[in-house]
């Protein structure tokens, strides 16, 4: 054991919410210049522990020492002044202000009483260059991609001379190149003696960059170890608290297809949408799960939205159930038997203040109406059926959907589409940000639905999900479909190769041809 003094020691942390135990004797130790992975299912207490640390919540018991001193921060701002910076999942910066302003917010440079823009712009540019980001820092933040915004958030944290940087799922909106850049940044922070707490649902990422791992379950710390000494399977079993035997068989909840693919439900060809999608092709047959793979920004979501009529394509043909269609609104696609679960559950999926019942029946409601009045008996029947079938956990159907866990919210959204009895279901990142247990449940459900004849188009950034789940895989790169792989050939290597290299046909064409 090296003779270093731990930077952060959290011991016996207790936290209750209205009598319900959220943390129970939880602990966390972080050494200087160390990248600590913090993992656990949704509701395991990771976020609560972090919020107790940064003073967003007060603790009911336990002690925290930071840099050898006992601390008790009253607010995240106070924690930040003392050297703990947090980067949240949802980027909380000021969208319409410039990148430089966002980085310097709260400690603006002044000269003769005026803001010294030149110095701030130079500082921001310099900070971002360290992370290989070369942008015009005078432009408003909102003009840049989520990935860039994330880098800005990190640059801001670093600029506060942080000794500990907490990253809450920073990679969920980044593509692989950007993740690689982020990891370089983390390693650089480590080299400078800054400690990092890294929260992520993607276990593979942890092994690439983290030194140690702390596993939480049900509000307790159940494991803290050097990451090199635990394999992925042990990690999962520690998170789930299940026997190794039950998780060993496969890493996702997908099983092989039992039914044969049927008639074509979707065929889209030559899709062009703005500059993001140039020549996309995808086909789905009934009873089939078709994976749509590609890096972030490859045009997967745009393609899906075009098929659903949310953003009509500029060119190309879309055939649904054998008929060529030109959809201008999602309602038209829904009428034809198409459903679409957006990747952004909060912004485009749930209606947070509505009940579980209303969220489930949002899409089918026009069909549950007699003379404009909702037939509540039929509504309840539909809701009850899918609450049971999907095992949605809620205190009642009248509970507001925002109070549910991410996994249950996702099930509610699936139920919303399933009760419309769709022929084609487009799922954009169906298991993003969901704990491992619910994830496996949702994956096995998707397979079950396909076996009953549903055509599924599944976008996923997780290779395991595509490799194990999809019967056929289309790979998009830079807005073009560059590969069409049957299940047997759709291994991780083939998909990554396709993502990395454009297919010869596309590269041979002259630009604009």
């Amino acid at each position: 054991m090296p003779p270093t003094v731990p930077l952060l020691v959290m011991r016996d942390i207790d936290k209750r919410f209205q009598g319900v135990r959220a943390l129970s004797a939880a602990s966390l130790d972080v050494n200087p210049g160390e990248i600590m992975a913090l993992v656990g299912q949704n509701g395991a207490g990771k976020s609560t522990l972090i919020k107790v640390l940064t003073g967003a919540y007060s603790r009911d018991g336990g002690a925290i020492t930071f840099g050898g001193e006992p601390v008790d921060f009253g607010s995240p701002q106070e924690a930040q002044r003392c050297g703990i910076s947090t980067i949240y999942q949802e980027i909380n910066l000021v969208p319409f202000r410039s990148v430089a302003e966002n980085i310097c917010l709260g400690r603006e440079r002044r000269r003769h009483g005026f803001l010294d823009w030149k110095a701030m712009n130079a500082e921001a540019t310099e900070l971002l260059r360290r992370f290989d980001v070369e942008i015009d820092v005078r432009r408003p933040l909102i003009e840049f991609s989520t990935a860039i915004q994330q880098m800005v958030a990190i640059a801001r944290a670093v600029s506060f001379k942080a000794r500990l940087v907490i990253m809450d799922e920073p990679t969920s909106s980044l593509d692989e190149r950007e993740v690689a850049v982020l990891f370089d940044v983390m390693r650089q922070l480590r080299a400078e003696g800054v400690a990092v707490i890294f929260i992520s649902h993607r276990l593979d990422e942890l092994y690439q960059v983290c030194d140690r791992v702390t596993v939480m379950r049900d509000g307790r710390t159940v494991m803290a170890s050097r990451l090199a000494e635990v394999d992925k399977l042990h990690l999962i079993s520690a998170m789930l608290g299940r026997d190794l035997e039950t998780v060993r068989s496969h890493t996702t909840g997908f099983s092989a297809a039992t039914a044969k693919a049927g008639a074509e439900v979707l065929s889209a060809e030559g899709l062009q949408i703005g500059r993001r999608v140039r020549d996309a092709r995808v086909e789905v047959k009934s009873g089939q799960i078709v994976g749509l793979a590609g890096l972030l920004g490859s045009g997967r979501t745009e393609t899906a939205r075009a098929i659903f009529g949310a953003d009509p394509p500029d060119a190309g043909t879309i055939r649904l159930l054998g008929n060529e269609v030109q959809l201008r609104e999602p309602s038209a696609a829904i009428a034809l038997g198409v459903g679409y679960c957006s990747e952004d559950r909060k912004a485009e999926g749930i209606v947070p203040d509505m009940s579980v019942r209303e969220n489930i029946t949002l899409a089918i409601l026009p069909r549950l109406v007699r003379m404009g009045v909702v037939d509540e008996a039929r509504q309840r029947a539909a809701v009850d059926k899918f609450m049971k079938r999907l095992a949605i956990k809620a205190s009642s159907v009248e509970q507001k959907v925002r109070e549910l866990s991410g996994g249950n919210q996702q099930k509610v959204l699936l139920a919303r589409w399933l009760c419309t009895d769709p022929k084609l279901l487009i799922l954009d990142e169906p298991t993003r940000g969901i704990d491992v247990g619910a994830k496996a449940e949702i994956q096995s459900l998707i397979r079950e639905l396909a076996d009953q004849g549903l055509g599924v188009l599944m976008i996923s950034s997780e290779l395991e999900e595509i490799v194990e789940g999809a019967d056929r895989v289309f790979v998009l790169s830079d807005g073009r479909t560059v590969a069409d792989l049957p299940h047997a050939h759709a291994n991780a290597a083939a998909i990554m190769t396709a993502m990395a290299h454009e297919d010869p046909g596309a590269t041979g064409e002259p630009a604009g041809g």
Binding site: F17, Q18, G19, V20, R21, A22, Q41, N42, G43, A44, R217, D218, L240, G241, F308, A310, E329, P330, S331, I334, A335, Y340, S342, A347, E348, G349, I350, V351, P352, D353, M354, E358, L362, A363, L365, P366, V369, G372, V373, V374, E376, K393, A394, S395, Q399, E403, L404, S405, G407, N408, R416, D435, G437, A438
Partner: protein, 330 residues
Amino acid sequence: MADAPTFVQKSASLDVLAFLRRYAALTSLLVLLAFNFAVTPHFASWQTLNVNLTQVATIVIVSVGMTLVIATAGIDLSVGSLMAIAGALAPLIFLSPFGVAHPMLGNVLAFIASVAAAGLLGAFNGWFITRFQVQPIVGTLVMFIAGRGIGQVLTNGNLQVFHNPTFQFIGLGRILGVPVQVIVMLIVVALAAWALRRTLFGRQILSVGGNERAARLSGVPVNRVKRWVYTISGLLAGVAGLIVISINSSSDANQVGLGMELDAIAAVAVGGTPFTGGQASVVGSLIGALLIQLLRYTLLANGVPDAAALVVKGAIIAGAVWSQNRGKRA
């Protein structure tokens, strides 16, 4: 397995607090009523009730439309101006040679045409906001400014004085001793409260306000729903405008509905409908309007000047918003 903990259990004392917070406006109204019964002379009379209800009826009718608009996360600043237009149009019709020659037809036409005109201008608000993706506060500001101008142009800026008992029945008439506008108010409130809860349109209003993008992706015709709520708000403003001119026996496009948009918004705010959309209480807006009205009456009846009453009105709105925020955080 280990899902996020759901907080179902609450102690009884918390429930009482939560109840008071949720029904802060209603509780305040009851307290104020009790106060008046004890202190204000001649409060417990049929006349007091009628005076208060008559005065509040137009505010309630307009605030019902406002509640629907606010439920979609919008706002309608044009209601006062639309009242003025409807109020200017109706006398023009029933005082015209045609209206004088055919009084019955003239009155019916005056009523329908002026309310429809206000509805059409409301529909224009909705079209403008959805077509050009303008923020509602800006979109309806256009009609707020232009509308009163239209009203004055229609009447050349003249005060129209009239005596037309048939038409004025809506503002002066009584059915079984109850003023007609109070009956209209109650019907509008009941209908809107029912529609918001039970009809497809009502649920679509709330889903648009609750999460517009999600609503669109679930097939809700977002723009159509918005156009309709502004149309309804315009129609109700038209009805309110006719009630006001009937009470006054005159129509002054400069005065009718002046400041009504703010009174209606205040009633909605006090009634507990959040301005972020997605949740709405029509009955809450009724209670909010009653509370503001009764407070003003109480102060006046006990010798406090009207100017001071305005300050108190501001204070209740602040209090209502404060209690809403407390309720949310709990």
